[in-house]
């Protein structure tokens, strides 16, 4: 069973994602802060990470950069309510993460992206 780590300080987001991903037969862990996330990937390395951009104790992009150094093969999805210009996404964000999704993206598309990054 593939393991997914969600890092987001908004409980309703985590709640919906956990339910949806669990229904797709993934094992899901949650972290509220970036420091929790950093700790958890050492204790129980995930197969995929979904992180928010604006975290209480840090920046999701900075966190993604650090996580990539620790787990270079683990895909990271940046799931954020901050909507960036398409050019910014391509030139900056996608150099640091494997996928960028806005929180306005329909849930089934988020799940499809997870499936794609986990190879089916």
């Amino acid at each position: 069973m593939k393991h997914i780590l969600i890092i987001d300080d908004e409980a309703p987001v985590r709640e919906v994602l956990v339910k949806a991903l669990t229904r797709q037969c993934y094992r899901v862990s949650q972290a509220v802060t970036s420091s929790d996330g950093r700790r958890m990937i050492v204790v129980d390395p995930p197969d995929l990470i979904i992180t928010d951009l604006q975290l209480e104790d840090g920046d999701g992009l900075e966190l993604a950069g650090d996580l990539k150094k620790l787990l270079p093969k683990v895909p990271i999805i940046l799931l954020t309510g901050v909507i960036f210009d398409a050019e910014v996404v391509h030139q900056t964000i996608l150099k640091k993460v494997d996928a960028y999704l806005e929180k306005t993206t329909p849930l089934h598309q988020v799940l499809a992206e997870v499936r794609r990054l986990l190879g089916g």
């Binding site: 987001v13 229904r23 929180k103 306005t104 329909p106 849930l107 089934h108």
Partner: protein
């Protein structure tokens, strides 16, 4: 009659038949033979009737069995369809929760940006009705949010008064043409009716190149740099 019971009865009758036949064969007295003959006849008749009922009932039983099988299959199919519908419903419910939350997040994020601005600010529709305000504006006017949202802009901001020489309102044409206005003199009316001169700037809000409203940023005219006040006065 249940199959198990019928089988037991048939075996009993067969046993009775055999015993009666033996008694008939080996009976020494005439009344023995008479009783055995009677018993043999009764048992044989019972066996024939039992077999006949079975033969007569067979098609009905077969039809009933077929109906039961069809019913069972239908129930199974309905169960499976209900399970699928239930799962779809769960997916749709999660999708709805996700959408609701994402819209709330967007609204909260937009409000956070507006609320972070320290100067009084409001968003107006193209028809110049107030659609959003920031806390600085509430502090400056003393109104509650519910007092001003969806109200005409003129309730709290005027470009001229009846007692003054009436000037053309520059906001409607600026919004129509999508033009910015900078540091124009206007008058903020607070809840007590007190009028405060302010410098007003308008920034048109576009949605896919169509002007849908504007952002009005107000500054206290008395605190504005002298050159701004002078230029504003020159314009009015």
């Amino acid at each position: 009659m249940q199959d198990g019971r019928e089988k037991q009865l048939r075996w009993l009758l067969v046993a009775g038949l055999v015993i009666s036949a033996i008694l008939l064969a080996v009976g020494s007295q005439p009344w023995h033979k008479l009783l055995a003959g009677l018993s043999l006849t009764v048992v044989a008749v019972a066996l024939v009737m039992l077999h006949g009922r079975r033969v007569v009932d067979a098609p009905a039983v077969s039809q009933l069995s077929q109906t039961a099988r069809t019913l069972s299959q239908t129930v199974q199919e309905r169960d499976a369809a209900l399970v699928v519908a239930g799962e779809n419903l769960k997916d749709e419910s999660l999708e709805r929760s996700w959408t609701t939350h994402s819209l709330e997040h967007q609204l909260r994020y937009a409000n956070t940006i507006i609320n972070a601005i320290g100067e009084p600010l409001m968003v107006v529709s193209k028809a110049l009705n107030i659609t959003r305000i920031n806390p600085a504006l509430l502090r400056a006017t003393g109104f509650a949010e519910s007092d001003v949202i969806a109200q005409p802009l003129s309730k709290i901001l005027r470009v001229a008064f009846e007692s003054m020489e009436l000037k053309n309102d520059p906001l409607p044409p600026a919004l129509k043409e999508g033009r910015e206005l900078t540091d124009r003199t206007a008058y903020l009316v607070n809840k007590a009716g007190t009028i405060t001169p302010v410098l007003m700037s308008l920034f048109p809000v576009r949605d896919q190149d169509k002007v849908v409203g504007g952002i009005l940023l107000l500054r206290d005219a008395s605190k504005a740099p002298a050159k701004n006040a002078k230029s504003a006065a020159a314009r009015i």
